[in-house]
């Protein structure tokens, strides 16, 4: 008999449904609230980095800025220009937002605190989060505007390219754990060390790929302000624009919590998680918030890549590195030599550094049409 | 793991990858020199492995079976592959890019054919067929600056997608009806429970999907355009390898699903199914070939006609209740496939060399007085055409003889099959007419001024291929016992393994 049908008689009790409903509401609201705070934090941190003040009028230190923004989004005119494909245009922001929210379901915040405990774990995360690209592609196509379309096709090409790298770099972690279950991944880290130390190359690749997946600097070409106005959401206004905006921040939150789970030990921190599930959640939140800060920090520190650089980094360097990382890790695991536990991360790091040096030496420089113009000869 | 069982496949895959790699690494001035050698040697090695190695047994958890049947199919694929490489070598020399890809794709397609005989379930069947078909799309459109080639590729892609859809929906329906995709349990299901309407629908859809592949009427419309537009070596590939893979699969599906129902009412329905397809294909192919002026189109329609003869053998296979006649029929189809393979490859070698003159494929210009311009080519074409017509003592005769013999045998348990035999005989007469027209063009006419240079230089690779072809056509016609024995062993294995 079909195993799925076999499980039907043990249908959930009323209490189970109520419990998961409560958890869903709690997590979703925390996420949305965090998203709002993040918008404010981004502006404050950027101000800090650029030595200015940032928003400081709404509430103490401008904390209520996001609420003011929300009001504005609601009461602004909702323009649907005549040249757009109407239904696709309205649907796209929703399609972009839903995957970003639903992905959080399998992240374990503390032992047992998790919306859905799925044994396919990471596979679910990757499959659902990759749906986000549809919202952007549909939105840009439906906008029927050249800037939006350019941003959209760039964005889809970028997201699907880095998705491959993201998928492969997680494999090193999974094969060491021997499970796709995210709870198992965290338990493994709690008992024998964070994957940040054991899989340093995979961590770097995964983190970089998640920056590209969320269209954040240094990979924000889809909405590069200086050339594409706003990229895929050029033609959007009012609440639809806000949903795109929110989806981007929610995707950041999901990416940070995923990195926390896979590489930073999730809810574990030197045994402090034994104090209770609340401690676990706090530890998890602290790590995620730190990663979110790094997102913002990097945005206001690094310049943007050129598109040809973006693509060649992904396909020429990250992809083979990620695959080599899997092979080397599997080889070390299969050899069964205990000393390799310490040699492996060093070897992996060495591989990454070696590739970076090689990439530097083989960089052909910008193509002629992109080279900076010669300095005007001063006739003064 | 029994890796040695798939060693021939591994060799061919490695050869394909190596051909691509070698071509990619070669400096611009030496592009395309090494790829044909690599491909040819890999196929030769695989042929030797298959013929001398005699792999037997199952691997991959029973999903891959090596027996006499799969050995026959693999030998046809690899041995025929060597001939195809010989035809292709002069052609690819004239290309300015894509040599490695051409041979790589050719070898990957051949791997699909090699696996076709060894699959043990419907999923494997589908995957092998897709490996063959998807590579064929690219090969058909290989001359991408040529409008006809692009048209051929596109038409083949669209039709191929439709036929794959038929096949896949058929597989899904059969799985839904019988609860399994494995050949053994499917046969057991048919023996035990007979044909439910759903199972019949699924089987019918699978057969239709395969009829597309072998260009049986009414699923043949793609064949003339694709044959005409594709590069000539690819046309040779499509009409030989691709078609034989289709018939191997038809044999497999028929023996697994249809034969167990023989003698029941649904069994009779299948006899009419195959019988109608066979007679339509025979008549249409041979009639439509008559007015053709373009030799490639002529061979395309003739290949539709030959698919009709092979379907005739299949009709006899499903009609008879006698196991011996059944083996006879399967043997007949396999021998026919082999003989047709040798013949069509020889014919297309000639077409490839003649068309290298750049004067097209029209019978009254490019082929007029061919025997004065190149006696060797004209003689090879003559033998190939006689073999296609089934004139003694050519290879084609053996195939036709065995097919008709099995039809006579099947008539003892299913008298109406005699009608099919008569249709087949009519087809033979019709086909003689248009083959003779072309022969007259080559031997009785003077060379046309538009037909190109007065003497045709035949490249060395084509010489080898023509020599092999002539030897095989005549040799097989006179001394056919070894091929018959091998085919009979394969046919017995086909029924033993299900």
């Amino acid at each position: 008999m079909n195993p799925l049908l076999a499980s039907l008689p043990s249908s959930p009790g009323f209490l189970d449904v109520l419990k998961s409903l409560g958890l869903v509401l709690l997590v979703a609201h925390v996420m949305l609230g965090l998203g709002a705070i993040l918008v404010w934090a981004e502006r404050r941190v950027s101000a800090l980095i650029q030595d200015r003040l940032g928003p400081n009028r709404c509430g103490p230190a401008g904390l209520l800025q996001s609420i003011a923004d929300l009001g504005k989004f609601i009461f602004k005119e909702d323009v649907v220009p005549h040249h757009v494909l109407k239904w696709m245009y309205i649907l796209a922001p929703t399609i972009s937002l839903v995957p970003a929210m639903v992905t959080i379901a399998v992240i374990p915040f503390a032992p047992g605190v998790q919306i859905a405990d799925l044994n396919v774990g990471i596979l679910y995360v990757l499959s659902i989060s990759s749906l986000g690209v549809y919202g952007i592609t549909l939105g840009s196509w439906a906008s029927n505007s050249k800037y939006a379309l350019l941003g959209g096709v760039r964005s889809s090409a970028q997201m699907i390219s880095y998705e491959v790298v993201m998928g492969i770099s997680a494999v090193g972690v999974l094969l060491t754990t021997g499970s796709l279950h995210l709870g198992d991944v965290v338990a493994e880290q709690a008992s024998s060390g964070w994957f940040l130390w054991r899989q340093p190359l995979a961590f770097f690749l995964f983190l970089t790929a998640s920056y590209a997946e969320t269209n954040r600097l240094p990979f924000d070409l889809p909405e590069a302000e200086s050339e594409l106005v706003a990229g895929y959401h050029t033609e959007y206004s009012s609440m639809k624009f806000a949903l795109f905006f929110l989806a981007e921040y929610l995707a950041m939150i999901v990416a940070s919590s995923l990195v926390t789970t896979l590489f930073l030990g999730g809810w574990s921190l030197f045994g402090l998680e034994r104090l209770g599930w609340l401690a676990g959640v706090a530890i998890f939140m602290a790590k995620t918030l730190f990663l979110l800060f790094v997102f913002i920090w990097i945005r206001w520190t690094l310049p943007r890549f050129r598109y040809d650089q973006l693509m060649s980094i992904c396909w020429k360097w990250f992809f083979p590195l990620a695959l080599a990382n899997v092979l080397v890790t599997a080889g070390a695991e299969a050899s069964g030599v205990p000393a390799l536990t310490w040699v492996l991360p060093v070897a992996l790091l060495g591989m990454g550094v070696g590739a970076a040096v090689l990439a530097q030496r083989r960089d052909p420089g910008p193509p002629p049409e992109l080279a900076p113009l010669p300095a005007p000869s001063s006739s003064r | 793991m029994n890796l040695h069982l798939i060693l021939p496949e591994i060799v061919v895959v490695a050869g394909g990858m190596l051909a691509v790699a070698v071509d990619l690494l070669a400096p611009a001035s030496r592009k395309g020199r090494a790829a044909p050698w690599v491909a040819g040697l890999a196929l030769l090695a695989a042929t030797l492995l298959v013929v001398l190695g005699r792999p037997e047994g199952t691997s991959f958890f029973g999903h891959h079976r090596s027996d006499a049947f799969s050995r026959f199919v693999r030998a046809v694929a690899t041995g025929g592959g060597v001939l195809l490489v010989l035809i292709s070598a002069p052609y690819t020399r004239r290309m300015d890019r894509g040599h490695g890809e051409f041979y790589g794709l050719l070898l990957f397609a051949l791997v699909g054919v090699m696996l076709v005989g060894a699959v043990t379930d419907l999923m494997g069947l589908f995957v092998c067929l897709e490996l063959l078909t998807i590579t064929s799309y690219v090969l058909a459109a290989f001359k991408r600056t040529d409008v006809r080639s692009a048209e051929a590729g596109l038409k083949y892609l669209v039709v191929g997608a439709v036929s794959s859809a038929f096949l896949l929906f058929g597989v899904a329906t059969v799985y839904g009806a019988a609860g399994s995709v494995e050949f053994a349990s499917l046969s057991a299901h048919v023996v035990g429970k007979g044909f439910s309407p759903l199972l019949a629908l699924g089987t019918g859809m699978m057969l239709v999907g395969l009829f597309f592949k072998v260009s049986a009427v009414p699923f043949h419309v793609w064949a003339p355009d694709v044959y005409q537009g594709a590069p000539t070596p690819v046309t040779a590939f499509l009409s030989s390898v691709s078609k034989s893979a289709g018939f191997v699969l038809l044999l497999r599906v028929a023996s697994v699903l249809v034969v167990p129902a023989a003698g029941t009412a649904s069994g009779d329905a299948w006899v009419s199914f195959f019988g109608v397809a066979a007679s339509l294909t025979l008549l249409y192919g041979n009639l439509a070939a008559i007015p053709q002026k373009d030799v490639k189109r002529l061979l395309a329609y003739s290949s539709i006609g030959h698919a009709g003869y092979m379907l005739l053998g299949l009709a006899a296979l499903v009609a008879t209740a006698d196991p011996t006649v059944r083996v006879d029929a399967a043997t007949a189809v396999l021998v026919y496939v082999f003989a047709y393979y040798v013949t069509t490859t020889t014919a297309f070698t000639v077409v490839a060399v003649v068309s290298a003159q750049g004067k097209g494929h029209r019978a009254e210009t490019a082929y007029a007085g061919l025997h004065r311009r190149s006696p060797l080519l004209a003689f090879a074409m003559l033998l190939a055409l006689l073999s296609l017509a089934g004139v003694p003592p050519m290879a084609g005769l053996i195939g036709k003889f065995l097919v008709f013999w099995s039809v006579v045998g099947a008539a003892q348990s299913h008298p109406s099959v005699v009608v099919l035999g008569l249709v087949g005989a009519l087809g033979v007469v019709l086909s003689l007419y248009y083959y003779l027209l072309l022969i007259r063009e080559m031997y009785a006419k003077d060379p046309s001024p538009e037909g190109g240079p007065a003497t045709i230089r035949v490249p060395a690779a084509a010489r080898v291929s023509v020599a092999i072809g002539i030897a095989a056509l005549v040799g097989l016609g006179i001394y056919w016992a070894p091929v018959y024995d091998v085919a009979r062993g394969a046919a017995e294995a086909l029924f033993a393994s299900r």
Binding site: K76, P81, V102, I115, I160, L180, S238, L323, L327 | -
Partner: protein, 132 residues
């Protein structure tokens, strides 16, 4: 033949996912409806309805052909992402005792073919965006 991996998947486990999914759709939908109801209603005019092109009047529709390179990337994605999917069950099975050496050898062959494909793609210049 025993299944390679024990399946302990229950459809009930996905119920919270469904709830979250409905919540997300509801949230997005509600916001759209509220802003549609509460937002000010402006008038349309030709300039406002034109696609935004930094003030220049748009000349053509935006739905035109774009670079074939995007299609190439899409093809590469399909090819390589499917290989990634094959890596996952392999990784989940990797810690099974006594099988690691075999699994490693198997992956070497798999990754070897994958690397070959990658090398071909890079060497052919399919991912060189700066080069025409």
């Amino acid at each position: 033949m025993a299944p390679l991996l024990a399946v302990d998947d229950r459809i009930v486990d996905y119920l919270p996912v469904l709830i979250l999914f409905l919540f997300a759709i509801g949230f997005a939908g509600l916001n759209l409806v509220v802003s549609w109801l509460a937002g000010s209603k402006g008038k349309h005019n030709p300039v406002k309805d034109a696609a935004y092109e930094c003030g220049l009047p748009p000349i053509t529709d935006a739905h035109q052909r774009f670079s074939v390179k995007f299609y190439l990337v899409a093809l590469l994605f399909v090819l390589f992402d499917i290989e990634v999917v094959f890596l996952y069950p392999w990784a989940a099975y990797f810690q099974e005792p006594g099988r690691q050496v075999f699994l490693f050898a198997e992956m070497c062959v798999f990754a070897g073919i994958l690397f070959f494909g990658w090398w071909y793609v890079v060497r052919k210049g399919a991912v060189d965006w700066a080069k025409e």
